[in-house]
């Protein structure tokens, strides 16, 4: 049965904090100045906001402290915190709350100074400290870095499907090409003291040092500062906003965790993707822009597979003909802002997938896909290969 596509809620305001290194700023400041800017983009004000979605990544109490700081009294507070995918979950929940008549203007926001405070995300986790806990007791002795967790998925993927590092490198290459067209990304890589700020080749990726086999440095996201905000409104509010609306037409949520006998090459996207596509009434091959959480190259291919863009292990064939670039006829363009690999990754990147999807469907991207009509944003939080959450949001222009 074909579902009737609903157009009841739209992203009407966005802001991406431009700096990737912002010394002297606080996470709350980045978050709240982004909210004000996104409201201004929409032509709305703080007093219009009646629903707040907040992963509680800044100062105390999640939506409570944020509401108090902003000076608003929302009817809906949702503090779902599932790492980098939190923001896709928030949009899914905002859609649900708007459809139910419980919210009119919803705010999703993020702020982080992970780079300025040198947060040890990828390779610096100190295990074996703090209060005793269930999973830590079984895993802390073994020195699993976050990157090694993803690398274990990559090795199994190579073992099962014949995927190669050269296949995975195509993702880094396309993403960097998009980053070089995005002035904020170029400034960010400069501020963060990247070497070789230029387009990459597959060979460049394969010659970069290995952090955790088989993942090379240029297959890993950066650690930056940053943040942003987006405003979602119901269809009655949309009539009076300033920007072309970007409709939320499908949303799905899922989780996955390691199980005895389980397949760690399958992600939560295998649960969230079909739900989102079914609600939207569209197919993967109709998607113009795919904004896929690129913590690492392996994350991207696993999710593109699970969302139905191609079969497991077919990345090498699928990526041929520069398919992922914004300016080729083949769909979809991938991570057209430069991604977490080359634009920004302050720890929880999911909001940027929604912001760039919105820019594409408004015609405002620095790597604009001609006549982009449909975008998918898929966020991943937690650790691929272990416990992680995934949410898929499908967006459409008018």
């Amino acid at each position: 049965m074909v579902t009737q596509q609903q157009r009841q809620a739209a992203i009407v305001g966005i802001h991406e904090y431009p700096l990737r290194l912002a010394p002297g700023r606080s996470a709350l400041q980045i978050k709240t100045t982004s909210i004000i800017a996104a409201l201004r983009d929409a032509g709305l004000q703080l007093k219009d906001v009646d629903a707040i979605y907040d992963p509680a990544e800044t100062e105390g109490g999640g939506g409570l402290a944020l509401s108090a700081y902003l000076g608003i009294r929302p009817r809906v507070i949702d503090t779902t915190a599932v790492g980098g995918s939190s923001f896709e979950f928030h949009v899914a929940h905002a859609l649900r709350d708007i459809q139910a008549g419980r919210a009119n203007v919803a705010v999703v926001s993020y702020g982080s100074i992970a780079a300025s405070v040198r947060r040890p995300i990828g390779t610096g986790n100190v295990t074996g400290a703090g209060e005793a806990n269930w999973s830590g007791n079984m895993e802390d002795p073994y020195g699993l870095t976050l990157i090694a967790g993803y690398a274990m998925v990559a090795h199994r993927h190579m073992h099962q499907y014949g995927t190669t590092s050269a296949d995975l490198a195509e993702i880094s290459v396309a993403t960097r090409a998009h980053a070089m067209r995005n002035p904020d990304a170029v400034r960010g890589m400069t501020d963060l003291a990247f070497e070789n700020i230029r387009e990459l080749t597959v060979q460049d990726v394969l010659e970069s040092r290995i952090i955790a086999d088989p993942l090379h440095l240029l297959e890993c996201c950066m650690v930056s500062d940053g943040g942003g905000a987006l405003i979602i409104a119901n269809k009655d509010v949309v009539k009076d906003t300033k920007q072309p609306p970007v409709w939320v037409i499908g949303a799905g949520e899922g989780i996955k965790y390691r199980e005895n006998g389980g397949d760690i090459t399958v992600s939560a996207a295998a649960q969230s993707g079909p739900a989102a596509f079914a609600q939207a009434g569209v197919r993967p091959d109709e998607i113009d822009v795919a904004m896929i959480y690129d913590s690492f190259t392996i994350t991207v291919t696993t999710m593109l597979e699970d969302l139905g863009f191609y079969k497991k292990g077919e990345l090498g064939d699928f990526a041929k003909g520069n398919r992922f670039r914004f300016d080729t006829a083949l769909k979809p363009a991938l991570n057209t802002d430069g991604g977490g690999l080359s634009s920004n990754h302050p720890g929880m990147r999911g909001i940027f997938l929604l912001l760039e999807s919105t820019r594409q469907l408004r015609g405002q991207s620095t790597s604009q896909v001609a006549n982009a009509r449909l975008a998918v944003a898929h966020g991943n939080g937690g650790q691929l290969g272990a416990a992680h959450a995934g949410s898929t949001i499908i967006l459409a222009r008018d």
Binding site: G128, G143, A212, G261
Partner: protein
């Protein structure tokens, strides 16, 4: 001598597992009602919701499901090891555990998915609990 972090207590799910490790036994749970294998240790069976579980000794023999050679870890406890192998091992009894692979000349070339391995209990520089690691058979 290695300085891998020790388990910490009180943690009631995993304490019986670690007390057995101290005796040189690798243990896992089974559900007495539906016979499902339960691991990581806990108090219920996800398959049938039963809380009637029992502990069993594993042979310690298994197969590497997947692995990574960690080249960079800013935690000195691990960076002092040089390149080391973290892995998931599927034990023959049907449970999968995180571990390290040891006893290999070159971690970059001598480990692969599907490789047969056997548990060892590695004594640490300090602490009462040896750590279960695996070496190729």
């Amino acid at each position: 001598m290695p300085r891998r972090p020790q388990p910490r207590f009180p943690e009631p799910n995993t304490q019986p597992y670690w007390e057995a490790v101290k005796d040189g036994r690798l243990t896992y749970q089974r559900c007495n009602d539906c016979n499902a294998v339960v691991f990581t240790p806990k108090f219920h069976c996800a398959a049938c919701s039963s809380e009637n579980l029992s502990w069993h000794d594993s042979s310690g023999a298994g197969t590497i499901y997947t692995y990574s050679v960690v080249r960079q870890n800013r935690n000195p406890v691990f960076s002092d090891l040089g390149a080391y192998v973290v892995a998931y091992v599927d034990l023959d009894e049907g449970f999968r555990m995180m571990t390290n692979i040891v006893g290999i000349a070159n971690p970059l070339t001598d480990v692969h998915c599907g490789q047969r391995v056997q548990v060892q209990f590695e004594v640490q520089e300090s602490g009462d609990y040896p750590i279960p690691v695996f070496a190729p058979v």
